[in-house]
């Protein structure tokens, strides 16, 4: 690790820390909440990028891992079972549970490729959601469609991420707290992803994605690296899920629909599969776009005197147009990975 690299990391850290203040100053406090959600989407997109972008295993049911993480956290820190486990236990457990689910899913999928893999993962995503939806009888575990309520806030040591933090003269507003936590974790996962990409494991995934048979002929254990890609991708999703549950205080099966899986996939396709900066950009754009489009309502009112097109309808239109335009103009994504001179 060169000095330049460490300086770059430190600067990124400072910039991420300053981000909530900047966003609040420029756009207002609601945007800090939007940024928090966007950071969660970045986490999800980075996780899916491991499975799809690095290893080339098309997973259309990724949101299931998010759900597993969210429910793991929710059941361990809510009145549902009267459990209130600390964050340092629940967060890793949620990631581990999702990772284990990734392994469970990955094992029967080892022999499938391409479209077949995509279809089975899609099915798995739906099965998970419907399972959670119905797991309120005969024994009530998930509370079914009503979801889990009054989930504990994210709290570690003396720090409560739902409350303002007073630290001597400095006060960090309550809205900034989860945002800072999510940014920190998203940053950490992004960093780990870039390290993974150039590691031995990353090279194995790359070979697997390019040509599985040739990869096997190079002595790469396909089974092992496929499972690793599923498990690692899933655990990032599980982590995001736990954060989501703690942040919202309430979760229900509705949040884990197929549309969400597709949305996260769109993020990495839009940004540039397998390229961490591109994936982050894609996630931020698609997470923020709907919020930004809200402004079009008042704008129409002011300019045209009437809201002609509901911003909510506009959202899907713009989204679709953006994807079509991207497929035509930048098929590899907005910010794809350069091919030559990798690893320097």
């Amino acid at each position: 690790m060169s000095a330049r690299y460490i300086i770059l990391l430190a600067l990124t850290g400072v910039a991420l820390t300053a981000l909530p203040w900047l966003v609040d100053g420029l756009l207002g406090i609601t945007w800090v909440r939007i940024l928090s959600f966007a950071a969660l989407y970045v986490l999800l997109a980075l996780g899916l990028n491991i499975t799809v972008g690095y290893a080339g295993l098309l997973d259309l049911g990724y949101i299931a891992f998010f759900a597993v993480g969210a429910y793991t956290y929710a059941l361990l820190s809510s009145p549902q079972f009267g459990l209130h486990w600390p964050l340092w236990a629940t967060l890793p457990l949620a990631a581990a549970a999702a990772g284990l689910f990734g392994l469970l899913l990955g094992t029967p999928l080892l022999r499938l490729r391409g479209d077949y893999l995509a279809i089975v993962t899609l099915g798995f995503g739906e099965i998970t959601r419907i399972f959670i939806n119905n797991l309120n009888a005969p024994v009530n575990i998930t509370n079914g469609p009503q979801g889990v309520n009054q989930i504990d806030a994210l709290r570690i040591g003396g720090i409560d991420f739902s409350q303002a933090l007073h630290w001597g003269e400095v006060t960090i507003p309550a809205a900034y707290m989860p945002c800072l936590l999510f940014l920190a974790l998203a940053g950490a996962v992004a960093w780990a992803s870039t390290r993974l990409e150039v590691s031995r494991v990353g090279r194995a995934w790359q070979a697997l994605r390019e040509d599985p048979l040739a990869a096997a002929a190079c002595g790469i254990d396909l089974r092992r690296y496929k499972l690793l890609a599923f498990a690692l991708g899933a655990s990032a999703g599980g982590l995001a899920g736990a954060l989501f549950a703690g942040f919202q205080g309430f979760i229900s099966p509705e949040s884990f629909s197929l549309t969400e899986s597709i949305m996260i996939l769109c993020m990495i396709v839009l940004g540039g599969m397998g390229h961490v900066p591109g994936v982050i950009a894609g996630a931020l754009i698609l997470a923020i776009l709907p919020e930004a489009l809200r402004a079009l309502g008042p704008l129409q009112q002011a300019l045209l005197g009437h809201v002609w097109v509901d911003p909510a309808d506009l959202r899907m239109l713009v989204f679709g147009l953006a994807l079509v335009a991207m497929t035509l103009l930048r098929p590899a994504g907005l910010w794809p990975r350069g091919h030559a001179g990798r690893g320097d």
Binding site: R203, A204, Q206, A207, R209, E210, D211, L213, A214, A215, A216, A217, C218, G219, I220, D221, R223, H339, A340, G341, R342
Partner: protein
């Protein structure tokens, strides 16, 4: 002396269809063996089974005195085996250099790997010129060179080649075979599958003929080349 490769009554099936029906053969260290046969005779299947890319339904494979037929491909490679797959099987989205380095995936001796990389570049100057180019943009002949270079990066003692002449111009085929001849002078044992029987029998000391999953003829290449059955079926002579 233990043979480099010994196969005993090997059976491989795709579902219910038996592609190999009791194949036995033995290869001494440093020997060059040509495997010829018509389309669908099971040649590729045999190579894949040896490399561990296909499960074996019955029989034994011994690699330099070790029984390997139940091992995965990733376990067999470090024991000195490399396969150049049919149709080249390179990584099109990786650069030439990255492709070559992937061939040394199982090795940890980075210094020696760098030496071997340089050796491939001097063996194939075309690859040296294009080292940062994406492999998918290479011509067919260059891709075949790359596939061979990548296999050699694993420092194999046994090299399995699946139709290296496929789809190449005669000049390129000549170059590839000259390279193989040179590689063999370093003591590499060669198992060559070829449609172009004449070329293969020229390069190899011994030839076996595979038909419908069974070996039907076996002998010194020079003798087999005079066999009327071989001449009629594989050398295009009446």
């Amino acid at each position: 002396m233990t043979p480099m490769l010994q196969i005993d009554q090997l059976h491989v099936a795709y579902g219910r269809i038996e592609a190999l029906r009791g194949v036995s053969l033995s290869l001494a260290a440093g020997e060059r063996l040509a495997l010829i046969g018509a389309n669908g005779a099971g040649k590729t299947t045999l190579l894949k089974a040896i490399a561990g890319l296909l499960p074996v339904s019955a029989g034994e494979i011994w690699l330099d005195g070790r029984r390997v037929e139940r091992m995965g491909a990733h376990m067999r490679l470090p024991q000195g085996l490399a396969l150049v797959p049919e149709g080249r099987g390179i990584f099109p989205g990786l650069s030439v250099r990255e492709n070559l380095l992937m061939g040394a995936y199982c090795r940890a001796d980075s210094g020696a790997i760098a030496d071997d990389l340089a050796a491939q570049y001097s063996r194939f100057p075309r690859l040296a010129e294009r080292r940062e180019q994406l492999a998918g943009t290479l011509s067919g002949g260059e891709q075949q060179m790359l596939a061979i270079g990548r296999a050699l990066m694993g420092r194999p003692r046994l090299l399995l080649l699946d139709e290296p002449s496929m789809g190449l111009s005669p000049i390129m085929v000549e170059k590839i075979f000259a390279t193989l001849r040179e590689v063999c002078t370093h003591g590499v044992t060669l198992l060559l599958v070829e449609q172009n029987a004449r070329l293969a029998m020229d390069l190899c000391d011994r030839t076996v003929v595979l038909e419908h999953g069974q070996l039907t003829l076996e002998g010194a290449s020079a003798d087999l080349a005079r066999d009327p059955r071989v001449q009629a079926a594989y050398l295009g002579q009446a």
